[in-house]
Amino acid sequence: MKTPRYYCPKTVEEAAAILASEGPGAYPLAGGTDVVVKLRLGALHPAVLVDLARLPLDGIVNAGDSVVLGARVTMTQLRTDPLIRSRFAVLAEAAERLGSPQIQNRATLGGNLGNASPAADAVCALFALDARVLLRSPCGARAVPVAELMRGPGQTALAPGELIEAITLPVPPSGGEVRQTYRKVGGRNAMVCSLSGVAGWTRIQDGVIVETRLALGAVGPTCLRAARAEKIATGARPDEDLARTAAAAAAGEASPIDDHRASAEHRRRVTAALVREHLMECAR
């Protein structure tokens, strides 16, 4: 393998300028937990590697009506930060289930997005939190909903020269009680790529679900929201019957594939069970 040229810019502007001027041969590197393996296996052979290690994007900032996460925030930060643990628990739980502590110390939220795996744990949580992603290029900045950024396995809507700068989590309206869970199933309990993962975010007021967001991971080309199941659950009282009905709807919305990890049918059943678990959690 030809050794790529290496840059380690100190500012976002500089990083975006290098990515733009070097064109499609340039590849960004964040925590490296996926990219370094791909480099070694020859699955990735960029002409230029733009290491984002020095960019000042590792903060978690409370901006009042939203919380802004720098793209280099690690899984360890997400699972330990008091604000994330209390207000955006689904993201803290997903970060805790992503890989080993060693991986969590390196893997970044921006990297989880850029890598665009349909099974990405933290991305699934971002779908349930209605996150927006701030993208930076030499031409300026734009913010897109996370669902618009994800296009398919390994595919994002990032334009050439565009860089993931930050992730914005809207703070939900007050009132009622919010239940958040991230559940995943893989071949073993620890350090595993999910064969199905469900991020659930549900607001309950006076015993009724007023809003719910059910994000399904690893059962489609990207993470997806179970819109029909959400519609069924909204306005209903969480109980066993509702959980079963909505779970069946969600399983129907999933479009899983057969692969070496699991059959499509198994994935569908696991997805239904995980959606049901979330709604039963809301019934407690």
């Binding site: 490296g32 080993s100 502590p101 060693q102």
Partner: protein, 161 residues
């Protein structure tokens, strides 16, 4: 950093300026250029934890880190864990006392991960210790004695003055 700027980092308390390219894996740099072969390569994909080193005190897989990414930072390998005067780190001693070593290939990584857990002031619980060590695979011990070693080291820390 531009390609021409020199790269320095601190390994086991000593500032170093690598000759290796910044795209070299930290693992290869440690083993080849510095001769610190206590850091092992198992899977090379971040699954097994045999190459665990401490980066600013936190465990990371050295097979997943490029040298350029850790410019200016502090790396501790198994060779740098003891006090330098030949004394063992309390976690190393606990591994010896518990008999937590069989073939030894996973041991440097497991010791470093356990040392980070113990030195961070965590209390011992089987669940917390298992979660902390979930990224260090061991094919010999069945983990029971490794967990015992962590429990001993935590207990020892409480008794220490």
């Amino acid at each position: 950093m531009s390609p021409t700027e020199p790269l320095t980092l601190v390994v086991n308390g000593r500032p170093v300026t690598p000759l290796a390219s910044p795209t070299t894996r930290l693992l290869d740099y440690l083993r080849t250029e510095l001769g610190l072969t206590g850091t092992k390569e198992g899977c090379g994909a971040g699954e097994c934890g045999a190459c665990t080193v401490l980066l600013d005190g936190r465990p990371v897989n050295a097979c997943l880190v490029l040298l350029g990414s850790v410019a200016g930072r502090t790396v501790t390998t198994i060779e740098g864990l003891s006090d330098g005067a030949g004394g063992l780190h309390p976690v190393q001693q606990a591994f010896v006392d518990a008999g937590a070593v069989q073939c030894g290939f996973c041991t440097p990584g497991a010791v470093l991960t356990a040392a980070a857990f113990v030195d961070a002031g965590n209390d011992y619980s089987a669940a917390a210790a298992r979660a902390a060590l979930s990224g260090n695979l061991c094919r010999c011990t069945g983990y029971a004695k490794i967990l015992q070693a962590v429990e001993r080291a935590v207990a020892g820390r409480r008794e220490a003055p």
